[in-house]
């Protein structure tokens, strides 16, 4: 496999020279981190000097009736928190088409449908699509569902279960308004890492369709049947999943209705599904006037569809309503208010809760001052004494813009508080946040910068209090010296965080400085 990748790279490199279009982006940065204090082990920064290098190439061209393009990406770092691998391939793809036949190799992402194939494979695909004819569109794909290229060469640090996937999809336009498709996706897992790793041998047979019967109305849906054998636990099961969505969209309304039923034993190795869930969802957006928009939503779902769960069935109701008003005050042209109420009702399966979420947001421009204020109230209420709490959040941000000769200054202030009263523990927690910021722009010198400093204070009636002081600087300069390159930015990012706790043995501080260059053409 390594040799194949090397051959592909050489092929792409050759193409790059002869290509009619070629673009490259490279970013190299060096970061120096320092941590101090008795609790420095809690920091997520890697101490010392580390680098991160990312490269991305794209090329395209044509030869005769064939068009091609390719992408290549790589990353290098010596910081294990950035990546366990020092050098790794981040993308590799080549595509070739004569407008009827399309061949893709490398990173292949053919999304058949949500339940059947919605992930990328390392392999190849072929598509036949002759537009303007009644012939069906046919897509075939083969590859391995590795999360990254390093897993392909079985590197011990990034090794994963080997999941081989094969898929075929035939899509037919039945009428100008209706298409339907049938697909098969099969997977086979080998090479477990741990003895307990599950290895699946699965098959998904899927039917999906799209229909636009009248202007503004679309319908889409799919049905997928799965059949799998799992060798570690010796289990075999069959299941099905179905979903149907109707969307009516024309001013002033947009209505969507969605139904989904995913059986507990439904399994999709390469698709996206939440098993054991029946869901119904309705949303209605109504533009009452040019200024007022109302949104209604209702979501209902439950689990334990076959009654086999020892924990019982949990049902959820989540209705919500929100109103957005542009210019709620006639004399305030930049004002906007949004009010929302959401309710969560969950019951069954040993739990019962009713949570209320109320939120109000208002933004406006007062003279030269932009303001954005948010006030939220949440009531968590459970009958099973898991969580009975009321929470209040308040955040406001004020910012302005001042031009001083060739320089633009953007000062800003953020204030926030969070108050939580835990009724079960009979304790109240408070979080206070404030920060001051200054943005700086010098368009003539192609320089922008942002400096921000502030503090977060967590005060607990019972437990550990904590204070965080932070300061962060980001500066970006596009030097004229490098103007030959299409887009080049030299950047500096620096940060200081100081964490102090009631137990001083946990205190620690972090300093970080990153200097980098991003160049693209």
């Amino acid at each position: 496999m390594k040799n194949t990748a090397a051959a592909l790279l050489l092929l792409f490199a050759g193409n790059a020279l002869a290509g009619t279009e070629f673009h490259a982006t490279n970013e190299l940065s060096a970061t120096y981190n320092e941590t101090a204090g008795p609790g420095k082990g809690a920091s997520s920064l890697t101490r010392g000097l580390n680098f991160l290098e990312t490269l991305s190439l794209y090329g395209s061209g044509s030869k005769g009736t064939w068009d091609y393009n390719y992408t290549f990406g790589a990353k290098a770092t010596d910081d294990e928190r950035n990546d366990a691998k020092k050098v790794s391939l981040t993308s590799l793809q080549g595509r070739l088409t004569d407008k009827v036949h399309t061949l893709t190799s490398g990173d292949v992402f053919e999304s058949f449908s949500q339940y059947s194939l919605a992930t990328s494979l390392k392999g190849a695909s072929y598509r036949f699509n002759k537009e303007g004819t009644r012939l069906p569109e046919v897509t075939a794909v083969f590859g391995w569902a590795y999360p990254r290229w390093d897993s392909v060469w079985n590197d011990p640090r990034t090794r994963s279960v080997k999941r081989q996937g094969t898929g075929l999809r035939v899509k037919q336009e039945l009428t100008p308004d209706l298409w339907a498709a049938g697909s098969y996706v099969g997977t086979k897992d080998t090479g477990r890492l741990a003895p307990a790793d599950a290895l699946y041998d699965s098959r998904n047979y899927t039917f999906d369709f799209g229909y636009a019967p009248i202007p503004g109305l679309t319908a889409a849906g799919e049905y997928s049947a799965s059949d799998y054998d799992e060798t570690t636990g010796g289990a075999s099961a069959r299941g099905a999943a179905a979903r149907l969505e109707l969307v009516g969209d024309a001013d002033p309304s947009r209505v969507s209705l969605e139904y989904e039923n995913v059986e507990p034993d439904f399994f999709s190795a390469l698709g996206s599904a939440t098993p054991d869930r029946r869901k119904f969802k309705a949303r209605w957006r109504y533009k009452y006037s040019k200024r007022v928009t109302v949104n209604f939503g209702l979501l209902w779902y439950r689990n334990n569809l076959e009654g086999g769960s020892a924990a019982g069935t949990t049902r959820n109701w989540k209705p919500e309503v929100s109103v957005g008003v542009k210019k709620p005050f006639a004399g305030r042209p930049y004002s906007f208010a949004d009010l929302s109420y959401k309710f969560d009702r969950k019951y069954g399966g040993g739990s019962s809760g009713a949570d209320h979420y109320l939120n109000a947001n208002y933004h406006d421009r007062l003279g030269g001052l932009d303001s954005d204020t948010n006030l939220g109230y949440t009531l968590y209420k459970t009958k099973t004494d898991v969580r009975d709490a009321s929470e209040l959040t308040f955040n406001t941000a004020l910012s302005s813009r001042h031009e001083v000769k060739a320089v633009v200054l953007k000062p800003s202030v953020n204030l926030g508080t969070w108050y939580s009263k835990d009724e079960l523990a009979d304790a109240a927690d408070k979080l206070y946040e404030y920060s001051l910021g200054l943005g700086f722009e010098a368009p003539g010198a192609s320089l922008t910068a942002d400096l921000r400093a502030g503090q977060n204070l967590l005060r607990k009636e019972a437990g550990e209090d904590s204070d965080k002081f932070f300061a962060a600087l980001g500066a970006y300069w596009r030097p004229k010296l490098l103007a030959r390159l299409n887009d080049t930015t030299l950047f500096l990012r620096a940060g200081y965080n100081s964490y102090d706790f009631t137990t001083s043995a946990s205190n620690f501080r972090e300093k970080t400085v990153t200097l980098g260059l991003n160049a693209s053409f």
Binding site: S44, T54, S56, Y58, S60, T71, K75, E80, R81, D83, S88, T90, S91, Q93, T97, T102, T104, F109, E110, S111, T119, R127, E131, P147, S151, P156, R157, T158, S160, D177, L193, A196, P213, I214, P215, L217, T218, A242, L246, G248, A250, D251, N261, S272, A273, T274, L299, K318, E320, D344, Y357, R387, W418, L458, K460, G463, E464, S466, K468, N486
Partner: protein, 409 residues
């Protein structure tokens, strides 16, 4: 289930035949218009007024394809402009009103597209209703993915729910409403969130979808306890390319966002997932990740069972390989740490409980090291399972005290 499908099918048929427009207020069937319009297979209803495309999401031919179908009377002509009505091009159409137009865009240039449909009676649609500004971005998809992830991570770190949800697509596979409530609960339970990532793998599909794999590194404060917690690992996202930006379509375990309802938010688990997932329970407590244990023992010799989380202060077997599966034996006076019968325990240098991977544990072969010191991380193989232990501190000389973190893969 079958009844529902039949009912839905019947509704669709009726919708197609009857003038059932209860959801569209004020539209007339005789008006000339567009039944549907797609730009590169994405419905124009879903794109917003500005469409930003990326080279990697176009086909290998680099073309933008506009497809649609005229509605109203018999179609007489279809025209398209790409320069805001300065010039118009005739578009070929079929008898049933379907049409297609393709063009090769230049990077960085904005094409103002409008479609004009005229029926044989001379009535035309309102072209302004079809106005779209189409741009082929000069950025590569990697830069765009980075921009989307940076914005999501920044909004999550700043606990700004509104901004965060602005990056989530309406068709989010786990359900957008469920994710929104889960993220809101995350913000109530956590503070001082600090998350960073680097990209592992990006794959753009012709349908505009983008697969992204990342390595992440995270630190959070848990409000309920005031304690910090860190973890790291690799996870995957799928984005939809719509409305000129990438919007989140799905996430896998380990989750970055929506930890409070992981079961409903995530659709799948990353293959080779090497970290326990950080999750929040209903009460806002942090679960998953690792377990931290402090044990005091008079003679410093005891065994600990990582499956049952129980301590045996006076184990029957105290030698190397003398305990049962899932157990380790500490001898704090020596200091040493012993594996169970048939198992293995070996230091994994330079690793912490958060950064050690199951592959590294799988590779160990050593047994019973006699160098158990604070700050070391060990891999443990026992009874077919993999564990990791990080010894945080050892103190005392009888009684002894040890604090260690452990996790099961």
């Amino acid at each position: 289930m079958k009844k529902l499908i039949i009912l839905a099918a019947a509704l669709l048929v009726l919708a197609g035949t009857a003038d059932a427009k209860w959801w569209i207020f004020g539209k007339s069937k005789t008006e000339v218009g567009l039944k549907y319009l797609f730009i590169n297979k994405i419905s124009a209803d879903e794109t917003g007024p500005k469409i930003k495309l990326f080279r990697e999401t176009l086909g290998a031919d680099g073309l933008v394809r506009i497809t649609g179908r005229a509605s109203g009377g018999q179609t007489g002509s279809v025209r398209v402009t790409l320069d805001d009505k300065a010039t118009w091009q005739d578009v070929k159409f079929a008898d049933n009103g379907t049409f297609e137009h393709a063009f090769k865009p230049e990077p960085g240039k904005t094409y103002v597209m409008l479609i004009e449909v005229t029926d044989t009676a001379g009535k035309t649609n309102k072209p302004e209703e079809t106005r779209k500004e189409i741009t082929l971005s000069e950025e590569n998809i990697q830069a765009k993915v980075k921009e989307a992830l940076d914005a999501m991570f920044a909004a999550y770190n700043a606990e700004n729910l509104q901004k965060f949800m602005g990056h989530v697509g309406e068709n989010f596979a786990g359900d957008k409403a469920i994710l929104e409530r889960a993220v809101k609960r995350d913000f109530d339970a956590l503070s001082n969130i600090s998350m960073r990532y680097t990209l592992n793998n990006i794959a753009a599909g012709a349908q505009g979808r983008v697969f992204v794999s990342i390595t992440y590194n995270r630190m959070v404060f848990v409000n309920k306890t005031g304690a910090t917690n860190t973890d790291s690992g690799a996870t995957e996202f799928v984005f939809d390319s719509k409305e000129g930006k990438l919007s989140l379509f799905s996430m896998k375990q380990p989750l970055m966002f929506g930890l409070s309802d992981a079961e409903n938010v995530a659709t799948g688990t990353v293959l080779g997932n090497t970290s326990d997932n950080l999750v929040l329970d209903e009460g806002g407590n942090l679960g998953g990740s690792y377990t931290s244990v402090t044990i005091s023992d008079a003679d410093g010799i005891f065994s600990y069972d990582m499956d049952t989380e129980t301590t045996d202060a006076a184990p029957t077997f105290t030698g190397c390989g003398g305990t049962y599966s899932g157990q380790v034996t500490f001898n704090l006076g020596n200091p040493s740490v012993y594996n169970a019968a048939g198992g293995a325990i070996q230091e994994i240098p330079g690793k912490t409980i958060s950064t050690v991977t199951s592959a590294e544990v799988q590779a160990i072969t050593g047994v019973c090291p006699n160098d158990n010191n604070a700050g070391k991380t060990y891999g443990v193989k026992s009874g077919g399972s993999l564990y990791a232990i990080e010894v945080v501190s050892i103190s005392g000389s009888g009684p002894y005290s040890v604090t260690f973190k452990f996790r099961k893969f």
